[in-house]
Amino acid sequence: MRPAPAQRAATRRELLTGGAAAAGALLAVPAAAAAASGGGTAASGDGGHLTRVLSMSVLAAYVYQQVFAEGVLTGTRRQAVSSFEAQEQAHVAALRRAVLSAGATVVGPPPSTVVANQYLAHRQIPGRLGQLQSAEDALDLLIDVERSSIGSCYVALLSLTGPDAIVLVARIMANDSQHEALVTLQRHALKLPAAAPYALVSGSH
C-alpha cells in the first residue's frame, strides 16, 4: 500500500533529519560553497526536491555496496547487475552537484547498516541489510530500492521547475527503471516478459 502524501513527507523529513545516529551523516554545505562549485543552473526552489531525490539515491548506492559485500549475490546474477553500483554512485555525484548549485543541503550516505535499515523501514522497504539469506532476498531488496528511487524521482518531477534539474532527474529515473527491469529479470529466471510488466512505471512513492 502506498503511503498517503502526508506520510511520505514525514518519511522524507525523518530521512533528512534522521535520528541521533544519522545526524553525523548530514553534511550542511552553505550556498557560498555551491557558488564556488561552478553550479548555478538549478532553480532556487528546486533545492529541497533535489535533496530528497539525493537522499534516496545515496541510500540506493549504499544498499548496492552492502549487498555486494554480503556476498549472497553470486555468479551470473551478480555479474548482470555489477555495474549498477557505480551507476548509482554516478547519480549521487550528479545530484550532489545539482543540490549544491541550488544552494541546498547535501546528504551523505548512511553511517552504518543499522541506520540504513532504519531508512529502509521509513520507506516501507521490507528487506534489511545484514539479514539477507539468499540471492532472492538480495534481489528483492534491490528491486524495492530501485522502485523507491523511481518513486522519489517521479514525485520530484511534479514539483521541479528548472529545466536542467528536470532532465537530470528524468535521466536518473529512466536509468533506475532499467535497473529495476534487469534486476527483476534475475529474480524471475530470465523470463523476459516479467522484466517490464507495466506500461506506466512510476515506482513506489
Partner: protein, 191 residues
C-alpha cells in the same frame, strides 16, 4: 490515467497496415515555448489551463508511439518464440502509451489527431538481429524525444506522466539491447 484512448488505438492497430508517414516525430519538437514559460521554468501545479505547446509536443509523442506500435506489429512475427512473447507484451504497453498520451492531450486542452492508416517504419528487417535493432531504434527515438520535451512541458502532471512512459520505454530499450547481446544498461544517465 490510461484507457480512454486505448480503444481507438487498438482498433487502429488492428486495421493499420505498415507503411508511410514519417517525419511526424519532429512535428512538435521545434514548437516555441517562449510564450508559455517564464524565465525558462515550468509550472508545477494548479489547474490545467489550455497549453497549445504541450498539445503539440504530446501530439508528436503520440505519433511516435503509434509508429512504434506499427513497428512491433510488423516485427513480432519475425522474432523467436521467447522474444516474440516479450515483444507482444511490450506492444501492448506501447498501445497503452498511446491511450495515456491521448488522455494527456485532452487534459492539455487539445484533441488527439486520428490515427493514420499506416506509419513509415523503414525497410522490413530480414532476420532476428535486424528486427531487434529496428525495435531498439524506435524505442531509442521515443526515449530521446521524451527527455527532450519533459522540461518544455508546462503542465507538471503531464511531465510526470510522460516520465512514466519514458521509464517503460527505457526498460524496453535495455531489454532489447540485452537480447541483442549488447550492454543492457550502458550508462548511468539515459539519453
Amino acid at each position: 490515467m490510461s484507457g480512454q484512448g486505448d480503444g481507438p488505438s487498438r482498433r487502429g492497430l488492428l486495421g493499420g497496415a505498415v507503411a508511410a508517414v514519417g517525419a511526424v516525430a519532429l512535428a512538435g519538437c521545434g514548437a516555441s515555448s517562449g510564450s508559455e514559460k517564464t524565465a525558462g521554468q515550468t509550472q508545477t501545479s494548479g489547474s490545467n489551463p489550455p497549453s497549445p505547446g504541450d498539445v503539440a509536443r504530446l501530439s508528436a509523442a503520440l505519433e511516435l508511439e503509434r509508429r512504434t506500435v506499427d513497428a512491433y506489429v510488423a516485427c513480432v512475427p519475425l522474432l523467436s518464440k521467447p522474444n516474440s512473447k516479450a515483444a507482444a507484451l511490450w506492444l501492448s504497453e506501447e498501445v497503452q502509451h498511446t491511450g495515456e498520451l491521448i488522455a494527456l492531450i485532452k487534459q492539455a486542452g487539445g484533441k488527439a489527431a486520428p490515427r493514420a492508416d499506416s506509419y513509415e517504419i523503414g525497410s522490413m528487417p530480414r532476420n532476428q538481429a535486424q528486427t531487434l535493432a529496428l525495435l531498439a531504434s524506435f524505442e531509442q527515438l521515443q526515449v530521446a524525444y521524451y527527455l527532450r520535451i519533459m522540461p518544455q512541458l508546462r503542465l507538471a502532471k503531464a511531465r510526470a506522466a510522460v516520465g512514466t512512459i519514458l521509464n517503460c520505454d527505457a526498460q524496453h530499450l535495455s531489454l532489447l539491447r540485452l537480447v541483442q547481446g549488447r550492454p543492457a544498461v550502458p550508462s548511468a544517465f539515459v539519453t
